[in-house]
């Protein structure tokens, strides 16, 4: 349990670092911005209290905001994601798991369910984030393009992480 918690904290730090040093500088075609830190909330186990989702989302968002000079933007969107993640997780998690604690991954949930879960969270996060960023529906086409491109890029990165992550955890255990 402690090991899992520490590994999640490590993941959070790694994602923040990557975002600050690398991903913040990527603006593919001026539309696609990778926002893969949302991966941390996706990986929270099934017995996580809702308050942890909210506070982690908020704090992680705040730290990312400080590094990318967008105070409040990521914090607001990630906090909202923290609210909806448990509902989405219950919608996609296997129903017959009983009391067992589930750590969301392709192996525990099945590839299809996990990627759908990850995709919806990514999409929702991109929608909220870019709505707050543009703060107007004046240029709806550009907004939609930004949301779509960024969702695709972020989801691609999460796909890569998910394929790297199990091997890493296997090596460490």
């Amino acid at each position: 349990m402690l090991q899992k918690t520490l590994s999640l904290i490590g993941l959070g730090m790694l994602l923040t670092l990557l975002q600050a040093t690398l991903f913040n500088h990527i603006h593919l075609l001026g539309y696609a911005i990778p926002l893969p830190y949302v991966y941390l909330l996706i990986k929270f186990p099934s017995n996580t209290p809702r308050i942890v989702y909210l506070v982690t989302g908020f704090l992680l968002g705040l730290i990312v905001d400080i590094f990318s000079n967008t105070p409040g933007m990521t914090a607001a969107s990630l906090c909202a994601i923290g609210l909806v993640t448990p509902w989405l997780f219950n919608a996609f998690a296997p129903k017959d798991r009983g009391e067992e604690i589930l750590h969301p991954s392709t192996r525990s949930m099945g590839a299809k369910s996990f990627y759908l879960y990850a995709f919806f969270i990514t999409l929702l996060h991109c929608i909220i984030f870019f709505c707050i960023e543009t703060f107007t529906f004046f240029n709806l086409q550009v907004l939609l393009l930004k949301i779509m491109c960024s969702t695709a890029l972020t989801f691609g990165l999460i796909f890569v992480f998910e394929h790297l992550h199990p091997r890493r955890s296997k090596a460490s255990s």
Partner: protein, 287 residues
Amino acid sequence: MYHILEFLRKYYYILIFIVLEIISFWALFRFNNYQGSVWLTSANSTTAKINRLYYDIATYWHLGEVNRKLTSENLRLQQEAHALREALLDQKVEGTFLDSITRTSISGYQYIDAKVIVNSDGKKNNYIVIDKGANDGITRDMGVICGNGVVGIVCITGPRYSLVTPIINKHSNISCRIRGERHFGTLQWDGKDCRYVYLDEIPRYAKIKKGSIIETSGHSSVFPPGLYVGKVNSVNDSPDGQSFRLKVELGTDFLTTRDVNIVITPYKAEIDTLQLYANRAYTDEPS
């Protein structure tokens, strides 16, 4: 209380979510120039809209007072217009000094504001109850008017309320004349349509056309002369063919009248005493 605590225990995270979002948005508007300015602009326009709404509501609440004032104002203006019209007529015909003195001394009717409490709409014998009575100085046979014209005559007074016989009552007969013509007759209601009454006994040589204005004659001490009653709707022959029978469209809508005024005629007691004396003196004579 228990339910509230239970609810909070179950949904405390919503509360935390709201607090965190408020902090986030505060930071967003405080430290981001673009979002901050957008927020400020929309907040300003929202404040302006709310202020506007508040102003509208406040104005609406004052409408009753405005209406009452307008009614009084309207009556005052009618009086003034009548006085001026009479003065003009006198200038044309005979402008004696004595006549004008008498006229000034008679003018100066007083009005008491009242509200209609009960209104029997559209029956055969209509009545109106107003919220002023003997305690306010109302007595029997006082005239009741509103901004649109004559309403009726006080019939019975209680300490706080009074019963008014409106024009649209079969027992009502108010002496009226045609403006500018000075032919007069008695206004009576046929009990059918609340909007129309009939003016009988108008001589056939009178020059009357549709749209002529009917006003009070001032031959009784109830109403001052020259108050607007209605307009001539059509001119017919009376049943005996000796005179005209005018169909008059009333200026007052009895179904919607709320604010009325009661006319207090100065020297009414004097006039009434004289009339009483006259009645006694001439009827007691052995015939």
